[in-house]
């Protein structure tokens, strides 16, 4: 929460930028225009004109609608606009809203004064730094651009010198790969006296397969990635991990960021889709999903689309586009129609599991097995039929008389109520196969068992399922096959739309996306005009293509156009938003602190020149993320000491926004666990593959209501990096949750850092931490048997990448005189210095 005073300042700043000054405004600006904007234009504005009435200009207002004239300037009592807001004429307007007496009076006065349409001083909506393209600042030749631009912002404030080599090597390892260096890796850098020792270190880390595990994880937060659906059933997503691995390998390969975006939005629409690009479309399926009775609840789809728009808006554009779902954005120039244009860009999507290898032969085999099994199942059913008929009447015995009577009554003679009653009971009462087995005569039972053995034998020939990736493509959602729980029934909705096309387009002709509409107040039932695809107008410069003809013709090319526009310097935000994220992860805070919001309610950049230089550089180097790491890490700014003290600097810039020392920041949840494994020497460094399920305490597991947790055995199989731990929406992994794992259902660019005693309890008492301390302790004893000083030294190197100072050594040796090595290891794993990047 922002203190009220600060909040007001921010609001005033917003108004100033927009050209408003509260106070001395004429009536139209102060009262009428806001009233029209918030209460009238929803239904009588530029986009929608209910009753053919448009109130968005004086001319339109004077022209009236299909029910005639609405204002007579100078004569409020003859003006229906006034009469309807005043309640003198029905229906009272605004429909379904409230209007204050003072507002009614303002309308009266305004019409009485001639209904002057004021000369609003609204500065063009795009007049905000983030909506203008970045301008590359000049940097004198020979200077490091980051240091030069940070220095310009810092001015004369004293700043830190270079941190120690031990601090730097630990910082670089944790920052780039999320693991602390081993003692050998520490010495490799610390003892390398060549002038390019630092850049060699950076290159080693950027080339490590663990780099993608660290930086891919940041992107997965943004993609709200998880391995389960969420909501009630929290169904497993057995193939979700392929998208996770796609992200990791894309970062490892330094895939150009513009291409990375296109693949995720439209990997199926590219000229030559590959298993990799098809897997990428998992981005658009990574939202939480009910996954049950979806067809019976068509409104769910609008929630998922909203989630995609919110994620693309915040994650890629740095804008809260989803705020414009029900009304124009309150603070940013994002119109409600912008929202529905974006929705139209995505609206063709349907969920598919993309086959990653050719599947025709597999299908042929599978179909032939189905064909062989079918008659056997029929035979089983025939054996069971007479028993089923015999056993059924007894199943009705438990019902009260009125139900039995309804069932007894011949169908034609049932009252309407009896018909409902009989229908619901008959449909839900059955005889199970096991019940039949209990009464069947030996001969029937033997025949049935033989048949079932035959079926089981044939099933064994069924080929293993082919690898598939959960993704999306275009199709017609109205023809989606029934999923779990779907049960089209009277009173359930879910009726097929007569205009629906085939689920997936197979030709002839080109695919046409099903229509999508502007929704008044965001209400699925209140359709406005049909929408065409498009992007937020304030970000669009000149003509842009909103659909691209795809090679296959099976999709609309709308997502491809969206991806290409997002992944280009044509819009002013994408490059800035991404370099700001990179900066945020390196320094613990972004140049724009509101990582996901570059709009008017977000923070101003603390150093716009630096942000713009980085953004333009990013585009110049072909959207290479690794190149941005090189640029940032090669600066003296990145190598500053965090321990630097200077009273004047602290006074001038207490928040260290100008970066006069390196900001200490805490490790993320995953890195805490990974660092424990690495320090203990137990980390299983295997990269990629299906998720693992580390052991959960029974009391934690008892909170699980649905879905899976396989509870693997504790051991090397689960001592994998945390990015591979199963992400269950219904049950966040407790150790991550306690260390501020973001909610797995909402796109998140910047995690919270809170400090709570439950974190201390976890690191003090959790079985995993204790058992890792034991491994660590054993390693210390075996490596330096009987040598307490040696054990202390080795432990410090493994945990903190440095040797202990004299006092630390003394304390450690003293402690080991009375306590086992694992106790000492445990203490070090609890140190502040261990969980912070310094």
């Amino acid at each position: 929460m922002i203190p009220a005073g600060l909040m007001n300042l921010r609001l005033i700043a917003g108004f100033l930028v927009a050209g408003f000054l509260p106070g001395a405004e004429p009536l139209f600006e102060s009262s009428i225009e806001p009233l029209l904007r918030t209460r009238c234009w929803q239904c009588h504005g530029e986009v929608v004109q209910l009753g053919r009435l448009k109130l968005s200009s004086r001319e339109a207002m004077l022209a009236g609608g299909e029910h005639g004239v609405v204002i007579v300037p100078g004569k409020p009592e003859q003006s229906r606009l006034f009469r309807m807001v005043a309640g003198l004429e029905k229906p009272t307007m605004p429909m379904g809203g409230v209007i204050e007496a003072a507002e009614v009076e303002a309308v009266r006065k305004w019409i009485a004064e001639g209904a002057v349409w004021g000369n609003t001083k609204v500065v063009p909506a795009g007049d905000w730094w983030a909506f203008k393209k970045p301008v590359r600042p000049l940097v004198p030749a020979g200077l490091n651009p980051v240091d030069y631009l940070v220095g310009r912002r810092r001015g004369s404030v004293a700043f830190a010198g270079e941190a120690s080599r031990n601090t730097l090597v630990r910082r670089a390892y944790l920052d780039l790969i999320g693991l602390p260096p081993t003692p050998a890796q520490v010495f490799e850098f610390v003892e390398d006296r060549s002038t390019d020792a630092w850049s060699k270190l950076v290159e080693r880390l950027l080339a490590s397969p663990h780099y993608g595990e660290r930086w891919g994880r940041h992107w997965l937060d943004l993609a709200r990635y998880a391995d389960s659906n969420g909501y009630e059933h929290d169904f497993d997503r057995p193939n979700a991990w392929r998208y996770r691995d796609y992200v990791i390998s894309s970062f490892n390969a330094d895939k150009p960021f513009d291409r990375f975006l296109v693949e995720q939005l439209a990997g199926d629409e590219m000229d030559r889709p590959t298993p990799e690009t098809l897997t990428a479309t998992g981005f658009l399926r990574s939202h939480a999903k009910v996954g049950y009775r979806e067809k019976d609840n068509p409104e769910f789809r609008h929630e998922y689309l909203d989630d995609m728009i919110a994620t693309i808006g915040r994650g890629v554009m740095g804008l809260t586009v989803q705020c414009a779902r029900c009304h124009d954005h309150k603070f940013d120039p994002i119109a409600q129609k912008d929202y529905y244009r974006l929705q139209a860009s995505l609206f063709g999507y349907v969920e598919v599991d993309h086959a990653l290898v050719p599947s025709a032969e597999h299908k042929r085999l599978s179909d032939s097995i189905d064909a062989r099994i079918r008659p056997l199942r029929m035979a089983v059913r025939e054996i069971e039929a007479p028993y089923r008929e015999r056993l059924l009447p007894a199943k009705y015995a438990r019902f009260p008389e009125n139900v039995k009577e309804a069932i007894r009554t011949p169908e034609a003679q049932r009252t309407p109520g009896q018909a409902l009653l009989a229908n619901q009971v008959i449909r839900t009462t059955g005889v199970s196969s096991a019940e039949i087995d209990r009464v069947a005569v030996a001969e029937d039972l033997a025949r049935k068992r033989t048949l079932i053995e035959q079926i089981t034998a044939i099933e064994k020939e069924r080929p293993a399922p082919l690898p598939v990736a959960m993704g999306i493509t275009d199709g017609d959602y109205r023809s989606t096959p029934d999923g779990p729980g779907d049960e089209p029934a009277p009173g359930k909705g879910g009726a097929q739309d007569p205009d629906a096309g085939p689920f997936l387009h197979e030709g002839p002709g080109r695919y046409q996306a099903p229509p999508s509409y502007f929704l008044i107040r965001g209400d699925v039932q209140s359709k406005g005009p049909r929408m065409e695809p498009g992007f937020p107008a304030v970000l669009v410069d000149g003509d842009v293509k909103t659909a691209v003809e795809t090679a296959s013709g099976k999709t609309s090319g709308r997502r491809l156009a969206l991806g290409q526009w997002l992944g280009s310097a044509e819009n002013p935000v994408t490059a800035r938003v991404m370099v700001n994220r990179i900066w945020h992860h390196h320094f613990g805070a972004g140049i724009v602190k509101s990582i996901d919001n570059f709009g008017k309610m977000g923070d101003l950049p603390s150093n716009l020149e630096l942000l713009d230089w980085l953004a333009t550089e990013f585009v110049r180097v072909g959207w290479s993320v690794k190149q941005m790491h090189r640029v940032i890490l090669s600066s003296a700014t990145y190598r500053m000491d965090s321990r630097f003290e200077d009273a004047a600097s602290a006074k001038a810039d207490a928040r260290n926004e100008s970066l006069w020392r390196f900001p200490v920041h805490r490790l993320e949840a995953e890195s805490v666990r990974d660092s424990i494994l690495a320090a203990a020497g137990t980390l299983n460094a295997k990269v990629g593959g299906p998720a693992v399920f580390p052991v959960l305490q029974p009391e934690v597991l008892s909170a699980m209501t649905h879905g899976i947790w396989n509870q693997d055995k504790d051991g090397p199989e689960v001592w994998r990096r945390s990015v591979y731990v199963y992400r269950k929406r219904g049950l966040p992994f407790p150790m991550f949750e306690v260390f501020d794992l973001p909610d797995q259902n909402v796109s998140c660019g910047a995690r919270n850092t809170s400090t709570v005693p439950t974190q201390a309890l976890t690191l003090l008492n959790n079985d995993f931490v204790l058992s890792q301390s034991k491994h660590f302790g054993r390693y210390l004893e075996e490596s330096r048997p009987g040598d307490r000083a040696g054990q202390v030294e080795l432990a410090y190197l493994r945990v903190l990448a440095r040797r202990p100072n004299a006092r630390e050594l003394e304390l450690g040796v003293k402690f080991l005189a009375g306590q086992p090595a694992d106790a000492f290891a445990h203490v070090l794993l609890n140190l502040n210095e261990f969980v912070y990047i310094q």
């Binding site: 929460m1 969420g230 109520g417 805070a589 973001p742 006092r807």
Partner: protein, 452 residues
């Protein structure tokens, strides 16, 4: 929340290790007022969906029209299967207390408190899905990812006991409710505000253990080493807070088990709650723990009755047979809830504690599978007691069959606005800035219920 925008309260919480002290409540700026009528909340959540027409909302018209289809109200949307005809309640209703409030025979003991609670008969929800309806009650939103009521309360009021979490969750012995931990998540707020699950037996919190031999020595060394590091980073409150959090954790290990140790209660109290009866024992335990926690300054205790388990038998989800399902579960909670209200009153805690009782939605006036009832978010009943609320009053009504809220419909947002108000918090001012917007528990909705 990014570092640049830590509010004063954020910094305090951070510096105090999140479980900040009483001092906080006096420093609250926006959102809090001095007119709080209660300082704590016990929420009794009957998970699975209690049928209002079989408990607190008698419908004689159902007897009259029994066996006839429900018509004239538009398309009847059922959650599962096929709609049946109107089905009267198998339970009798009795008048209670001076108010003469009608409560079904399922709750004879709860009924005896009729003059102490305000009964709301026109509450409605937005979803007929268990989980979404749980989230609606817990967070105000049907989607996942938002902070729960308890998070807002602890964010708004802080805690009175820094050795215990401000927001505690006690769920059913059968398992967690529909939707699981998302019901007590802090959403986009820091982890400080999320609900802490207390177990009914053993050590109450995961990873909280009695101090082990040698633990103090470990903590002493840790403290000394951490202080050396903090001295090298002057002015870093995070590092200081983290040092303090270990001392808090150590104290919690001593305090928390005692706070929920039911065996410390007198024999008479244990008997009153029904600890001696295997039917009432599990929920009795939860209710006593709730009282003990409230006594010790915990802000909000969220109890769930009904857990998964077996959805059909272990929750109030009476699709199959409303008589047997509700008879079983009513017997499990009636005595403990009666005891809780009696006990709170006797200890003078009821005046400062808001006690609420509700499910996630009501149930249908028509039958399902012959003897059961399907979900009905159109109408539900709930009651609120304590917090100096005028008891014995009935607020709002549902239509003649109990199908939809009719008179004074009350949304979940209205409910939340009212609950925050009772705690001295204005729901329009209690905001948390997230992603460029001042978020509220009540989103952009919510009107206080005037009678409360």
């Amino acid at each position: 929340m990014s570092r640049g925008f830590q509010s004063r309260r954020e910094m305090l919480f951070s510096a105090l290790g999140g479980y900040g002290g009483v001092a906080l409540s006096s420093m609250l700026a926006e959102g809090a007022s001095i007119n709080a009528r209660a300082t704590s909340v016990i929420s009794l959540f009957m998970s699975g969906g209690v049928s209002h027409i079989d408990t607190f909302d008698p419908k004689p018209a159902l007897k009259k029209y029994a066996g006839q289809p429900l018509t004239g109200r538009g398309e009847v949307v059922v959650r599962q299967g096929h709609p049946g005809p109107l089905m009267p309640s198998p339970f009798e209703f009795h008048r209670h207390g001076q108010s003469g409030l009608e409560v079904s025979e399922l709750f004879p003991k709860m009924g005896s408190h009729a003059d102490e609670f305000a009964l709301l008969r026109s509450v409605y929800s937005k979803s007929n899905d268990h989980v979404q309806a749980h989230f609606a009650i817990s967070t105000g939103m049907i989607r996942m990812g938002f902070p729960s009521l308890g998070s807002w309360v602890s964010y708004g009021l802080g805690t009175e006991n820094k050795n215990l979490p401000a927001f505690v969750v006690l769920y059913d012995a059968h398992g967690a409710p529909f939707g699981g931990p998302a019901n007590w998540s802090a959403g986009f707020m820091p982890a400080t505000y999320q609900g802490t699950v207390f177990k009914a037996s053993g050590t109450p919190i995961v990873d909280l253990k009695p101090a082990s031999p040698g633990q103090r020595e470990r903590l002493d060394l840790l403290r000394e080493l951490n202080e050396m590091d903090a001295a090298a980073h002057p002015g870093n409150t995070e590092l200081a807070a983290r040092i303090e959090s270990y001392e808090l954790a150590y104290r919690m290990q001593g305090v928390a088990p005692e706070a929920v140790d039911v065996s410390l209660e007198s024999e008479a109290t244990r008997k009153l709650y029904g600890i001696d009866n295997p039917v009432t024992e599990p929920f009795a335990r939860q209710c006593i723990m709730a009282r003990r926690l409230i006594e010790r300054g915990v802000r909000m205790v969220q109890l769930y009755h009904g857990g998964l388990g077996n959805q059909n038998t272990d929750t109030w989800d009476a699709h199959e047979d409303v008589r047997s399902n509700h008879t079983k579960h009513a017997a499990e909670v009636d005595q403990p809830i009666h005891a809780l209200l009696t006990d709170l009153k006797a200890r003078g805690l009821l005046d400062t504690t808001l006690v609420t009782w509700q499910g996630e939605f009501g149930r249908m006036p028509i039958s399902q599978r012959g003897m059961g009832r399907d979900h009905n978010p159109g109408a539900m009943s709930m009651w609120m007691a304590g917090a100096k609320i005028k008891g014995g009053q009935v607020i709002g009504s549902s239509d003649e069959f109990g199908y939809k809220a009719e008179e004074q419909p009350i949304s979940i947002h209205d409910l939340h606005a009212t609950m925050l108000h009772l705690l001295g918090l204005d729901h329009t001012k209690l905001t948390y800035r997230f992603n460029g917007r001042d978020m509220r528990l009540t989103d952009v909705y919510g009107e206080r219920i005037p009678q409360i």
